[in-house]
């Protein structure tokens, strides 16, 4: 995972800035609402005027009604009008305390006007305002209205001395035939309305200023923040860009600690991983290139590169040595430079197949050297492809096997000679065995001839024994001669034949012998088989000689078993009398038993003879 991350998230920052923008929108909307309120106030300027007028009118009406009630009550108990006037003269109202009560008689004489004192005592019955309204007469008309009423007319404003519109509430006091009233000057109402509007203006301006100021502050805040943000992003991008440039130029990894935002750090981290992989790949490629170059330059094998037009593009020193052309001479040359005409079609087909279908192929073909020699080369051809899998050409690595082939031919010839020699040797060995066997047959025949001229049975028996011994040996040579294998003989076949021979030789006694023969199917060499054959010959000959009786069934067992890998067990027994019989001395003293003991010793064996109800020979060897 990424290391040295700053812990500041670009996404979180963007989220914050969205919040700022929302705040700005909120401010704008608020401002809009305030301005909308101001516009409402401006639109109701007339309404304020009317409201003020109504309020003032209502005020003066109440004032007059209060005063009239007071007058009614007063005159009910006291008819002194002077005291009443004194009291009415003191009545003042309004913010500037300039409101007053005026009293006139029904005939239009001013009875009380404390503000315009010069009018007191004057009859104003015919007084007209600038619009021609007979003011007093209108007031007289209203005095007859028990509820009173308002009268709009022009009158000199004592505050300004100007004739201005005025509204008064008039009522009559019939008992006194008085007209009482009070009024307000409309210019003062306009003035108050203007003041109120001005006040609202002032407030609006203040609010606007506050909002503007707040907005400016928010803007500045957001601007500052956004500027910092964009600066940081730009810086990170600059760092990454710089790192990429460095990576491209120097293959250096990025310093992630210089990057502020996690997202850019992650990008940088991944880029670093990519750079590390690229560095490793470049290192391997450099190593591979170097190795290839070294192999090519130092290899005893010829490296020949071919482009797709079968022109030579690679030619190493071994190729120079092999073909005699320098690299400068070979590069750019066609296939005919080193391929003789009779091989040309085959090699062109090979190259075509390599490029189209096969990736690699080994072939052996003849080549021609600069000095015209024809050599035989073994080529390991590989298809060259780029990273997209497009074929670029072929690289053929070749070895001059001319000498090797010659050596192979020589070795093959020698092998043939050796085989011939071995056959001759085997033939000779076989012939030796043949001759040994024949010579033994001659010796046997000599003994037979000798035997035929002797009348003494004992001497004949001795000669017959010798013949049998010779025969048992001759049979081994016979088997060797007949075998494919010249080293050993199958003991089962040999002993079976030997037993049959002995039975036949003793006088065709097969019908009187119950033979139990069980010989292991194993091969033994001559050193073992000849003594073994002679032992079997002696034991069985002795059996026939001393134990066989014409009128009894003769039981003979010959068993050979394998005890373990190299050890055997031979068991030969007959049902003849044991050594404690009358023949004991004969059998004990016979040369046969001496021979048996000697032969057992020769094959490193142990002999055990038992002679109770039957005579048994057990030999472990």
């Amino acid at each position: 995972m990424m290391q040295n991350a700053s812990g500041i998230s670009l996404v979180k920052n963007i989220r914050s800035y969205v919040l700022y923008i929302l705040l700005l929108l909120f401010t704008i909307i608020s401002l809009f609402l305030i301005s909308d309120r101001a516009r409402f106030i401006f639109n109701t300027k007339d309404r304020i005027y009317t409201e003020t007028l109504d309020r003032q009118s209502e005020f003066i009406r109440n004032e007059i009604l209060t005063v009239s009630n007071f007058i009614y009550h007063y005159i009910e108990w006291n008819h002194n009008s002077r005291e009443l006037f004194d009291y009415l003269r003191t009545i003042r109202y309004g913010e500037k305390n300039n409101g007053y009560i005026f009293v006139m008689s029904y005939d239009g004489t001013v009875l009380l006007n404390d503000i315009q004192k010069e009018l007191q005592g004057e009859n104003l019955w015919d007084l007209e305002d600038p619009n021609g309204l007979k003011v007093i007469q209108e007031e007289r008309k209203i005095a007859d209205n028990p509820d009173g009423d308002f009268l709009h007319y022009f009158w000199e404003n004592p505050s300004t001395g100007k004739i201005t519109p005025k509204v008064s509430f008039i009522t009559g006091i019939p008992e006194m035939e008085w007209i009482i009233g009070t009024g307000v000057y409309l210019d003062s109402i306009e003035k108050e309305t203007s003041w109120q509007v001005k006040h609202i203006y002032k407030n609006l301006i203040i609010q606007l200023a506050v909002f503007l100021f707040t907005m400016i502050l928010i803007f500045l805040f957001i601007y500052k923040k956004f500027k910092n943000f964009t600066f940081s992003v730009s810086k990170d991008i600059y760092v990454i860009n710089e790192c990429f440039n460095k990576a491209e130029m120097d293959s250096e990894v990025f310093d992630i600690s210089r990057i502020k935002y996690d997202e850019f750090s992650e990008i940088a981290y991944q880029a670093n991983e990519m750079i590390i992989r690229q560095q490793r790949a470049e290192k391997e490629k450099r190593f591979s290139d170097l190795r290839l170059k070294l192999q090519s330059e130092q290899s005893p094998l010829a490296y020949v590169g071919w482009d797709l037009n079968n022109k030579i593009i690679e030619w190493n020193p071994a190729a120079e040595d092999m073909f005699g052309y320098t690299k400068e001479e070979a590069l750019g040359q066609g296939i005919g430079l080193i391929i003789p005409d009779h091989e040309r079609i085959g090699v062109e087909d090979l190259f075509y197949n390599l490029v189209k279908t096969d990736n690699r192929k080994k072939n052996i073909n003849q080549n021609i050297t600069k000095d015209g020699r024809i050599i035989t080369c073994e080529w390991y051809n590989n298809n060259l492809i780029d990273s997209k899998g497009d074929a670029l050409g072929i690289v053929a690595v070749g070895l001059d096997i001319t000498r090797r082939l010659k050596s192979h031919e020589e070795i093959a010839q020698k092998n043939i000679e050796l085989e011939k020699s071995l056959k001759e040797k085997n033939l000779l060995v076989r012939e030796v065995h043949h001759r040994v066997k024949n010579n033994m047959a001659i010796i046997s025949s000599l003994l037979s001839l000798q035997s035929s001229s002797i009348k003494n049975d004992y001497l004949q028996s001795l000669l017959q024994s010798s013949q049998n011994r010779i025969h048992s040996m001759a049979m081994v040579h016979e088997h060797i001669y007949r075998n494919e294998n010249l080293h050993d003989v199958n003991v089962r076949v040999y002993i079976t034949e030997l037993v049959e021979y002995l039975m036949m030789n003793f006088g065709n006694i097969e019908s009187q012998v119950s033979l139990n023969i069980d010989i292991a199917d194993v091969n033994l060499d001559l050193d073992t088989l000849i003594p073994l054959g002679m032992m079997v010959n002696e034991i069985i000959s002795n059996s026939f000689k001393y134990a066989f009786k014409v009128d009894e069934l003769f039981e003979l067992s010959v068993i050979l078993r394998i005890m373990d890998e190299d050890r055997f067990y031979l068991y030969i027994a007959d049902n003849g009398p044991g050594f404690n019989s009358k023949n004991e001395s004969v059998r004990e003293g016979a040369i046969g038993l001496k021979l048996i003991k000697g032969l057992v010793e020769q094959i490193d064996g142990r002999l055990k003879i038992t002679a109770e109800d039957k005579t048994a020979y057990e030999i472990y060897f």
Binding site: K437, N438, I442, S445, L449, A474, M475, E478, N508
Partner: protein
């Protein structure tokens, strides 16, 4: 008395055969060493049985000599050979002999076979 012709180039062996045959009451008028001589003398001796060694001195072997003899007259013939390779054996059996014995010859067995053939 039955006449037996012995064809054997090893004279000691031939003599042992002869002695054994005579002991068994057979007449052995002639022992010859070559195939050519056997073919030549066969008509003169007119034997009842021939003991024929295969490997003989001379230009023709025992099989060829037997072949020529049997063309003249069908007579029991026993091959006795120390050269017991398959090819030789097949050649010998091809002329349908009365017997085929490998050397060393068990003389008792030989006499036993001859007696069975002639008596």
């Amino acid at each position: 008395m039955k006449k037996i012709m012995v064809v054997e180039d090893e004279m000691i062996i031939a003599m042992s055969y002869t002695a054994e045959l005579r002991n068994a009451s057979f007449e052995v008028p002639k022992t010859v060493c070559t195939g050519e001589e056997a073919v030549k003398i066969f008509s003169v001796i007119n034997p009842d049985l021939i003991l024929m060694d295969i490997t003989l001195k001379g230009k023709i072997d025992g099989i060829e000599a037997a072949n020529q003899i049997l063309k003249v007259k069908k007579v029991p013939l026993i091959f006795m050979t120390g050269n017991s390779d398959i090819e030789t054996k097949n050649r010998a059996l091809a002329i349908n002999p009365a017997g085929y014995m490998n050397k060393p010859i068990n003389l008792n067995k030989m006499i036993y076979k001859i007696k069975k053939l002639l008596i």
